[in-house]
Amino acid sequence: MYKATIAITLRPSILDPEGKTLQHALTNLGYDEVDQVRMGKQAEVWIDAESEAEARRVATETCEELLANPVTENFDVQIESVPREAAKQGTA
């Protein structure tokens, strides 16, 4: 069993009002060194695959097909091997 941690981020050219608002809020809190904030989302996908390469292929496909919008978003896939039970923890 593999767990794919997928970071979906806005492409650099895309306006991110949420990130801009948060950057502004952080400046107000005194974090003058914070120069830029970009918001994105993270998906955790458990994949029952034979190999890490196979898991990566499946994860990448899910992004291209559904999880990310190619017009506005980039994605990055991290794969780790996890014990089978780990996938059943938490929500079902």
Partner: protein, 235 residues
């Protein structure tokens, strides 16, 4: 000749009844709901992909809806030249499905906004706008949290070159300004058609303003355009 309307219903659609009410009760046209699991849209002249929160708008507005069985047939219908009209969430679905260029992102204000908006007509020579005149200003309400139209510069240039923009957010006098833009849409775009001109996406809700009792009826002009077009084609 009357037109036959089909209104697609996804789980989470909530303007489906409004589109049905407008087409059927107000304009007295044959209208049916098309459940998202149906594989054929049946014999219709116009498919409306209505507003709402299909599949809860989870992930991205419209992202999940495009994979439903009915959408495969809507794509076929569109490719064959059938009239497809996506309103609000329906616009988002059509973009996700690749029937329209660009995408719709979260409003620049980061807030949902529901209000009447003046729109300037950009192209009055389509099946959706033939009853209007260029530069006319109509008032139609918006109601969305993710209505900021985005496409990259090349795509925008192509859309403009092909005269695909139908409506821009404007002042009551027809000026397209930043203040009149309620969501940060690129070039104030509120609605557009595909290159062939048979698929339209519109963020504002014309189906909400077809009866003067509810405070305005400029939306009638769009429905009347569709009816005029269908009867011309049939004639």
């Amino acid at each position: 000749m009357p037109a036959r309307f089909g209104v697609v219903v996804f789980p989470g659609s909530n303007c489906d009844h409004d589109a049905y009410h407008a087409a059927h009760h107000v304009f007295d046209q044959e209208t049916r709901f098309i459940w998202h699991e149906e594989e054929s849209i049946g014999d219709v002249d116009v498919v409306i992909v209505p507003g709402g929160f299909s599949y809860g708008d989870y992930l991205r507005s419209g992202a999940v809806a495009r994979f439903s069985p009915v959408m495969q047939d809507v794509v076929r219908f569109a490719e064959e030249g059938g009239l497809v009209f996506g309103i609000c969430n329906g616009f988002q679905v059509l973009c996700e499905a690749g029937l329209l260029p660009g995408t719709l992102m979260r409003n620049e204000s980061l807030r949902f906004v529901c209000k009447d908006t003046p729109l300037r007509v950009e192209n009055a020579d389509t099946p959706f706008t033939n009853g209007l005149t260029e530069d006319q200003v109509v008032t139609i309400p918006i109601s969305h949290g993710e209505g900021r139209y985005y496409a990259d510069e090349d795509v925008l240039a192509r859309i403009e070159a092909h005269d695909q923009v139908l409506f821009r957010y404007s002042t009551a006098d027809g000026e397209v300004t930043d203040d009149a833009n309620p969501n940060g849409s690129a070039r104030g775009i509120a609605g557009l058609v595909n290159e062939a001109g048979n698929v339209c996406g519109l963020m504002p809700h014309p189906e909400r303003c077809v009866e003067s009792l509810l405070g305005g009826d400029d939306g009638r002009l769009i429905f009347e355009s569709l009816l005029a077009h269908v009867s011309t084609v049939a004639a």
